[in-house]
Amino acid sequence: MAQRLLGQETEFGFAAFSPDGARLGGDRPASLLLAVAGRRLPHLPDMHSHGMFLASGGRFYMDAGHHPEGTTPECPNPWDVVRYNLALEEILTGLGAAMKAADPGIGEVMFFKSNVDYSGSGNSWGCHENYMHCVEPDVLTEQLIPHLASRVIYTGCGGFDPFAPGLDFMLSPRVAHLRQVTSADSMHARALCDTRNEPLAGLGYHRAHLLCGESLCSHTSAWLKIATTALVVALVEGGVRPANAVPLRSPLDATRCFATDTTCRAVVEAASNTYWTALGIQYHYLALAEARVDAPFMPPWAGEVCRHWSAILQRLESAPYSVSATLDWAIKLVLYRERARRRGISWEQLPAWNSYLADLASVLGRQQPTLDAVCELPLDELKRMASQYGLCALELPAFLELRDELFELDTRFGQLGAGGVFAALDRAGVLHHRFPGVDNIAHAMVSPPASGRARVRGACVQRLAAHPDEYSCTWDQIVDNRRNRRLDLSDPFVAGEAWEDLRKAGPAETEYARDMAARLRTLRERERQHVRF
């Protein structure tokens, strides 16, 4: 059976507040978080950023927009990817508490497992997946697209379209931020598949880097996202071409269509003049995987993935309600419907409210009308516009209050720590999201996976972290700047440590070592400047 390596990069929402509740802006919270991480976590410094490689073999750093980002180590199976991601959350929660303890000017630190901002900024941040493979990248991208478009029925985190003036529930709000099918620009032209050629390994390996996924609270959903996609990658590597039967006419439109359909019954057109539901596409990919579970190119856990994949599709097919305590979007849907009902607004009325709000947004010239802005319009005009949709304008304040409440609730749903809504529901025992084998999180916080180069990297971090100034690390190597030697990790499956003495190396390697040492000195100096708070 084929070995595979998988991983995930999670950017977290992050906000720190003073004891009197004022938001702390600028670089200070991020700098303090990094400084606290540097003191508390055994690590080797990251060669290329203000971050660090951890004893798990994973990486922690600050990404664009002051988002703390945790990357799992390269994992041999989907169980480990979910475990190591949960371990990163535990680590981050601990760092938040340590920030408060370290600085009396900090009253509260919040981390959010979410991907969209509801303040009207139109901002998003990512949860990217990585799959090692040996296929021509363009071929893999093409074959993945129908799977990525349709998997939202079980991988969507749920929430609202952040660009809509009202309350447009989506299975996957990240989809509202996708602008292209493929792109190398992960900030301004986000795509289903990123086409940056960054394998982070040698020997002809490639890395599929997917931008369309979301941070998930449900262990089942998180596991399915990684496990099913890894099987599709394996299928394509084995020569199977599943997308050839589902050449979606417009992949982005199809993704949006599936991401806004809570019935999982919406139909999209393929270029072959056939029509497909998301379930239909998923069953098609599943059937191809089921027929090849024992093929040499499939991982040893392919059969187990197929069983769980099949089970979730059956539940979604029989009734989406059947996943309402299991999948993120479905948990949110029942929760938010009930909140709306209690405010006297029926979920079925939302399309009418959304049309009304769209009209108001147009009149007011702002994306999301507020109560203050709406009150500037004559009441008669508000009533006339509302009556077009069978609504009462006097209920507008209640709807706007509901919108803001649900936006906050959606943000708080994935808040890390005991205060998060998902965490509270989980503690109360009313969810059924846990997944057998996703356990031993404490181990994953301090130990690498059992195989692959992350095992070697993690062991090095554990042993060398007492002297972080002497080393610098990246995904495919560790450099010992004092002894002038280098550990090559470009083979993703390297099993042992073989340090290369750069003093015996040729001029190119010596120059490389000098360059790395200079970079490390620069980073250290910057780090010292950053931690002066």
């Binding site: 938001r23 941040w125 990217h128 497909w276």
Partner: protein
């Protein structure tokens, strides 16, 4: 349509019971599970949400990432 007819093998369901289509035996269990869910949700939301949602959203505004 391309959906396949498949045997139903999964037994987990809403709040832990049923195959998704509530029948007579499951209705009471589902109703109880629903009540427990909403009670837990009430407690969680009461504890989590601020009193001024618009202010919370503005104060916790996030910059763009990747």
């Amino acid at each position: 349509m391309n959906e396949r007819e498949r045997p139903r093998t999964d037994t987990a369901g809403p709040a832990g019971g049923g195959t998704g289509t509530p029948d007579g035996q499951n209705v009471e269990r589902i109703r109880r599970a629903g009540e427990e869910f909403y009670a837990a949700a009430d407690a969680a939301i009461k504890s989590a949400l601020s009193t001024n949602h618009a202010t919370f959203l503005a104060n916790s505004r996030q910059e763009g990432g990747q």
